[in-house]
């Protein structure tokens, strides 16, 4: 198994100060190159699971293993994963090039390599020529492509997607999901994809995990 979650539990404290269990004894195994969809009603904890894999939340119990190493307590920047967020989360003060190059700059790659990689990935998501645009000059679909390119360019060990298409209109959603699928196939990317749309999950996933709310 490439990515493994064992007995993961997560509790939050709500505004009233009560402990609320969001995820309880959750197990998940993902093979290398597998596309997993987490589906379920809102509030069932699927986003929380994704955020725990990314390292943005710490589980209260259980452990996470990636490629044979335990990463449960590793901070997000050391996990070499990439997240595509629902609202894109593009850096508003950087242009398209700056956004996509960010992860490569952090890794201190030579400038030439960065330029080549950014160009290549922007071509593959159909955005070549948009390098100098600011995020607010792009349409929703284009912004989501930039977010995807920014995640893909660092060759993440696992690609994590949190309802990335839910802000797009229906036609674009269908088009984007085939693009995501073909890119994932081509790069053989291990992917965990959260959605509440079962159609989308059926189309994209090698395997679909249905989650239910923790009974209180």
């Amino acid at each position: 198994m490439y990515l493994q979650l064992n007995n993961i539990s997560k509790r939050f404290t709500d505004r009233g100060g009560n402990e609320v269990s969001v995820v309880k004894d959750f197990d998940l195994s993902v093979d290398r190159g597998e596309f997993i969809c987490l589906v379920g009603p809102s509030g069932c904890g699927k986003t929380t699971v994704l955020r725990m894999i990314a390292g943005l939340e710490s589980p209260n119990a259980g452990n996470i293993i990636l490629d044979g190493t335990e990463i449960t307590n590793l901070p997000p920047e050391k996990r070499e994963m990439a997240v595509v967020f629902q609202h894109y989360a593009l850096f508003p003060h950087m242009n398209v090039y700056g956004n996509v190059a960010f992860g490569l700059n952090v890794r201190r790659l030579p400038k030439k390599d960065i330029e080549a990689k950014v160009k290549e990935i922007l071509e593959s998501v159909g955005l070549d020529g948009f390098e100098q645009r600011a995020p607010n000059e792009l349409s929703g679909g284009q912004q989501q492509r930039v977010a995807l390119a920014r995640a893909l360019v660092i060759h993440p060990k696992v690609l994590l997607c949190d309802e990335p298409l839910s802000n797009l209109d229906a036609a674009l959603r269908v088009q984007m999901r085939s693009e995501i699928k073909s890119i994932q196939r081509r790069l053989n990317l291990t992917t965990v994809y959260v959605t509440h749309d079962e159609d989308e999950a059926r189309f994209l996933a090698d395997r679909t995990i249905e989650m239910k709310s923790v009974t209180k």
Binding site: A54, G55, L56, E57, S58, N73, P75, P76, E77, R79, E80, M81, A82, V83, F85, Q86, H87, A89, L90, F91, P92, H93, M94, N95, Y97, G98, A101, F102, G103, N105, V106, R107, A134, A147, R150, A151, I154, L160
Partner: protein, 544 residues
Amino acid sequence: MEREGWKIKLLIFAVSALVLLFIAYPLLKVFSSCTASGFIHFFKAPYFMRPFFNSCCLGAGVATVGTIVGFVLAYAVERAKVPFFRVFDLIGTIPVIAPPFIVAISSIMLFGRNGFVVRRFLEGHEFFSVYGFWGLLITETLAYFPTAFLVLKGTLSAIHPTFEEASRSMGAGRARTFWKITAPLCLPGILSSFLLLFIESLADFGNPIILSGGYQVLSVQAYLQITAVYDMGGGAVMAIMLLLPSLIAYVVQKYIVGQRSFVTVAGKVPRSTRKSGKTTILCLELFCLLLVAVILLCYGMILIGAFVRLWGVDYSFVFDNFIKGLQMGSQYIWGSMILAGVSAPITGILGIIIAYLVTRKKFLGRKVLEFTSMLAFAVPGTVIGIGYIMAFNEPHWFMPWALQGTFWIILFLFVFRNMPVGLQAATAGLAQIDVTIEEAARTLGAGNFILFKKIIFPLLAPAFFSGLIYSFVRAMTQISAVIFVVSGKWNLFTVFLLGLVENGELSIAAAMSVVLVVIVLLMMGFLKFVIHRWQVKQMVKAAW
């Protein structure tokens, strides 16, 4: 929330320690220096109680008049849109950048014993003395009404015109609508402005030390008690009696009035095209013109005085005042510029760091850190100054050097006293930045340092620069706190100015006021230019 790394924990610890050491500790020191007998003495001795009542009376007076002036100006500019309202808008904010006692200097030039008006028109008879309550009331009102103006302009602009339109459509006249709808909706803003002006007047040191005459106020008396009578305990008691009303006003303003805003509409408020009545507009216009005339007269006096040989005696045009002043004061001017220049960026960055920690991180004592950091805003400068000399005049186990008399004590005083504005700006800025933007950077491999340098800081640049400008201006113009910690080696421009006024060198004082204002304006212009360049560069380059 993920668990915090040790670096963040260390940062939280270091920042909290600094805030405790340089804000909380000096204040505690003032409290601990008071004895019960000191307080009993205070309440028994009339020369202690009198300044307390005087300060409170003056504060209430300035708060009332200043709020009225601020409200009328704000209404004229924001609602009635009287002719030239843009000019009035600008003029109304000018006193913000002026040194604290510039109005006091010009009122002496006009109405002092050798004043222009007194000599020329009243043949030496002072029909009223600028030294005392009335003089102080007028100068402080002129110096501090912009606070009321800015607060009330914000309040008025946030009140939806449809409330007024609804009232009119139901048959209420203009006057009735104003008194029954607009004014009550402004009430939280009015109370807020009243309390803020009360705090500012109570804390004012520059105007009363020049103008108070026989009308003793607490901020000045506490200073004299320490520097002239060498009575630390008495000074501390006075400082606390000065602190208490300010703190009460601050807490009421922040936690009671501040929460009671009637403003419920979010987003852009449409501009009403309905005009006020003709008579109303005329009255407002006259009021604004009068106010502008008074303000221009004050600043004009300074400008004219700067080029006059000897005020009150010889009105021939000379340039000597600048030459003499710059020769005498070069050490002070450099001291102020170096300290303001060094402290401003530190203040701005610390404001951002604290804002980031208290809004984005969860840790024990978060609320305490936030409250203490904002506290310096409410504490009169005199109290902070007294706290600093008490806290840092000898070494401790946690502070192995005596800071008194050094560069560092002034630097720390500036940094921690001027930080709240940058902190507030940064907190507001952070509320606009979605947390997922930071999370995206983290997952792409950015550690804390890169996150701060490449994401947080650039996005908060506007907040940083407004904090920077504010703290530079404040460092150049304030006097109440720093007058306690200056020394022969490190002295400041405002202290030099005060000395000139006290020695009756009004013309040189006027010339140096002009120099001070010019330095501040040049610096603001320069920073605005830098900000512009910065923002352009951010977008053009790939931001790395």
